[in-house]
């Protein structure tokens, strides 16, 4: 991988995990929120993980947002983030569990919120 056509990922998906297959322990969803922990960075982290940590310097990001900024598939960011969570370098907050998503109070907040956004209600 010596050239990188314009607009392609900075880190090819197949290299971003260092080519090492590890099971990802925490299951991260598209909307899991990632944040940098207080832990100091150890040396020797893979470049792709450093890139992910870099995007979290500005604040927390959903997995899918980090993937978009890094130009990596969500599946690759899941792997990187899972490793960083294992190392306590990143904290992950799970989205609301699927069973709770039709909670009437939550749905009402979504509907009321959308109505409030209309310019000409």
């Amino acid at each position: 991988m010596t050239r990188r056509p314009a607009g392609r990922p900075l880190v090819p998906a197949y290299l971003s995990t260092g080519g090492v297959a590890r099971p990802s322990r925490p299951h991260l969803e598209r909307l899991s929120v990632l944040a940098r922990s207080e832990e100091p960075l150890p040396g020797g982290l893979p470049a792709a993980e450093l890139a992910l940590l870099d995007t979290l310097e500005g604040g927390s990001l959903a997995v899918v947002e980090a993937a978009a900024l890094l130009r990596l598939p969500v599946s690759a960011v899941r792997v990187l983030a899972a490793d960083l969570v294992d190392r306590d370098l990143v904290l992950a907050r799970a989205p609301i569990p699927p069973a709770a998503r039709f909670d009437p109070d939550l749905l009402k907040r979504v509907a009321d919120g959308l109505r409030a956004l209309k310019h000409h209600p």
Partner: protein, 208 residues
């Protein structure tokens, strides 16, 4: 360890505009589904607070984890761009919209994006109803509640009555169907509201 570029600054987008405020909020998602050219990106763009972003997803490993990642190099890597946008709502809810193409070959990716979604807003171009059949099939199979938004293109046939359209699309009587101009934020919000109000009105035992 492969040599990755040392420049880690993403060249696209200003990260500061994307980061989340630190208050704990509930993140929810809705799929904006439909065939190519139906107006998914337009709708997401019209209501999103961030410039719509996208991820490049490999179709062959959509639901896969690391094991398949290592093998991606060897596969033909068909990728598809999945747009998404974000709306922070008053009340500490953040709504994400995912523009989801609905073809059978996207199924694994579809299932992954649909996991945990509130539902789908299916965009239909009334000039080519049949282009939406695949996506309607996928939504129904995935069990996602949905509403249909007919996008109003200028040369769309006017003679279609709502009932005829519902029949042609084979919609259940309870499935909401609204018309929408995806370029207009209020119209897009109304279409999303048709879905959310439908979710609220459903019998709780249906909700799973």
């Amino acid at each position: 360890m492969a040599s990755a570029p040392s420049n880690t600054t993403p060249s696209a987008g200003a990260p500061g505009a994307v980061h989340q405020p630190d208050t704990a909020r509930d993140l929810v998602k809705i799929l904006v589904a439909g065939p190519f050219g139906v107006g998914k990106t337009t709708l997401i763009d019209s209501v999103s607070e961030i410039r719509p972003l996208h991820t490049e997803e490999h179709l062959s490993e959509a639901s896969a984890e690391v094991d398949d990642l290592a093998g991606v190099r060897e596969k033909s890597t068909t990728t598809v761009a999945i747009d998404f946008g974000r709306i922070s709502l008053p009340g500490d809810v953040v709504l994400y919209l995912f523009g989801t193409p609905g073809q059978e070959r996207f199924r694994a990716l579809w299932d992954d994006i649909a996991y945990g979604a509130l539902g789908a807003l299916v965009l239909v171009d009334s000039r080519r109803l049949d282009a939406s059949f695949d996506v309607l099939g996928l939504v129904e199979e995935s069990g996602l509640p949905y509403a249909v938004a007919l996008n109003t293109f200028p040369d769309a046939p006017r003679h279609h009555g709502a009932e005829r359209l519902r029949q042609a699309l084979d919609l259940e009587p309870g499935t909401p169907m609204v018309t929408c101009d995806a370029r207009d934020p209020d119209s897009s919000i109304d279409a999303l509201l048709a879905l959310v109000d439908h979710l609220i009105g459903r019998d709780p035992v249906e909700a799973r």
